[in-house]
């Protein structure tokens, strides 16, 4: 795997944002069809740009007795966490960085989202935002352990924590084939990690937006962009972990990576429309009593296969 720092600084944020914008536009088009709105597809596809412009000129508001430091740092940390996690994301045979502890790095940067969302919910001094922040912590307690075991299963199968090594280990057989539980749990926990539907309770409609309830203008843009980046990065990471990285016939590796990422992203977009928001009071038991034992079992099986 080739590493390139310049790539990281310049191209990575742009590429991820472009990918997110494409997904957003596609989602807006679907929305128009569902809502039977009398608008053209082109006009709907331009919606994300219009929204970006609207938020850029919008006034940044503050609230009474807000904790500005924690609020703004929480907002900024969301896209920052996504970009830092993306550093180990390979595109074909190329990555911004491929450290020996790539998986752990990815996981640690995702977890920055815990602190980010909680402080963003705490900062504005508003009960609905605060509840949104709390909800994400509760969600984190549910998705994080199965998520870690899913990551560890892939690392165990490859015998390395290096993302490039995990891709190489799938030369003959993609991990999704013999670690299906790990893959499914990864998808579920990736949606939860990006507070993405059906795990969007921290930004829930019942909370009038929750964590983003008091955010306007650029602040809102930054946090919501960060959320889309998190989704794209989470979808992108499924490819080297379980879907064989850039492997595939005919097309070049980088293109295969993009195609696979787009497929995973499509699934995540679809599941947001398909399911109602899952409340943690119900999901906690499922997570701890069903998903966690299943992932441990999967990790055990993989470990045995690797040892024998």
């Amino acid at each position: 795997m080739t590493e390139g720092t310049g790539w990281a600084v310049l191209v990575l944020p742009l590429a991820l944002t472009a990918f997110a914008l494409l997904a957003l536009a596609a989602d807006a088009v679907v929305e128009v069809r569902v809502a039977h709105a009398r608008r053209s597809v082109a006009a709907a596809a331009a919606d994300p740009w219009r929204e970006v412009a609207r938020l850029l000129v919008g006034q940044r508001r503050t609230t009474v007795a807000a904790d500005g430091v924690l609020w703004r740092s929480g907002v900024v940390t969301v896209p920052l966490a996504a970009l830092l996690a993306a550093l180990v994301l390979p595109l074909g045979g190329f990555a911004a960085a491929d450290p020996g502890v790539g998986i752990v790095w990815f996981n640690a940067m995702e977890i920055l989202g815990w602190a980010a969302l909680w402080t963003a919910g705490w900062g504005p001094n508003s009960p609905l935002s605060l509840i949104g922040g709390y909800r994400f912590v509760a969600q984190g307690m549910c998705y994080e352990l199965p998520h870690m075991f899913a990551l560890i299963t892939a690392a165990t199968g490859a015998g390395t924590l290096r993302v490039g090594g995990i891709v190489d280990a799938q030369a003959e057989l993609w991990f999704v084939v013999w670690m299906p539980v790990g893959f499914v749990v990864y998808l579920i926990s990736a949606a939860a990690m990006a507070f993405w539907g059906p795990f969007d309770a921290p930004l829930g409609r019942d909370l009038s937006g929750g964590v983003v309830a008091e955010l306007s203008g650029v602040d809102r843009l930054v946090l919501l962009t960060g959320r889309w980046l998190l989704v794209v990065v989470a979808a992108g990471m499924a490819v080297p972990l379980f879907l064989g990285g850039g492997r595939g016939p005919l097309l070049p590796a980088w293109l295969w990576t993009l195609v696979k990422t787009a497929l995973v992203l499509t699934f995540l977009l679809w599941s947001r429309r398909r399911f109602p928001t899952v409340r943690m009071e119900r999901f906690t038991e499922v997570s701890w009593l069903v998903l966690l034992p299943l992932t441990i079992l999967q990790a055990l099986i993989v470990a045995l296969v690797v040892l024998v």
């Binding site: 640690a108 705490w122 001094n125």
Partner: protein, 186 residues
């Protein structure tokens, strides 16, 4: 040269944020000052070339501090710290004890006769760390794991005010009487 600059930068930042823990007046800010201090310590560990330990410190500390913040604030739910609070009492006494301890420990690091590094650096520190933990230090880790697990179980047993007989009735066959029904039917 760069390493030395970074070392001092991270070190001083860790100490400054650690000090802020006792100076800030909101529980949330205090918690995240402590987190920042830990993150700078993790950066020092990364500088030492122990990438696994460094990254894991960040990972664990973010989780722990967020959970800690929730617990602390549960008992004083004031968003954005409407009610200022102080992290210390007996100001002069506390300050002199803590600064004194810091000075003693810091001086100690310069006075101790640290052993010279022997042998070459392992190429993969993560691997040698794992081998050490699963080899010579296996007993330590096993005992540690048991103690931690026992602590968790004991804490839960002590904290809960409803056992399974409260939930399921005398013959343990009734539908659980929970304030909020869970997600798995049992």
């Amino acid at each position: 040269m760069l390493t030395a600059v970074l070392f001092w930068l991270f070190g001083v930042s860790a100490v400054v944020f650690g000090f802020l823990v006792f100076r800030l007046d909101s529980m949330a800010r205090v918690t995240f000052a402590l987190l920042a201090s830990f993150v700078f310590v993790a950066c020092e560990v990364l500088l030492l070339g122990l990438s696994y330990l460094g990254v894991v410190i960040v990972l664990m500390m973010v989780m722990e501090m967020v959970i800690m913040a929730v617990f602390m604030i549960m008992y004083m739910m004031n968003p954005a710290g409407l009610m200022p609070m102080a992290m210390y009492h007996n100001k002069p006494g506390a300050m002199s004890v803590s600064l004194g301890t810091f000075a003693v420990l810091a001086t100690g690091t310069f006075l101790v006769d640290w052993p010279e590094s022997r042998g070459s650096r392992p190429s993969d520190t993560t691997k040698s760390l794992g081998e050490s933990l699963m080899g010579p230090q296996m007993l330590t880790m096993m005992v540690l794991g048991l103690v931690l697990f026992a602590t968790i179980v004991a804490t839960v047993v002590l904290a809960t005010n409803r056992g399974r007989y409260d939930r399921f009735g005398d013959d343990l066959r009734a539908r659980p009487d929970d304030p909020v029904p869970g997600g798995v039917r049992r």
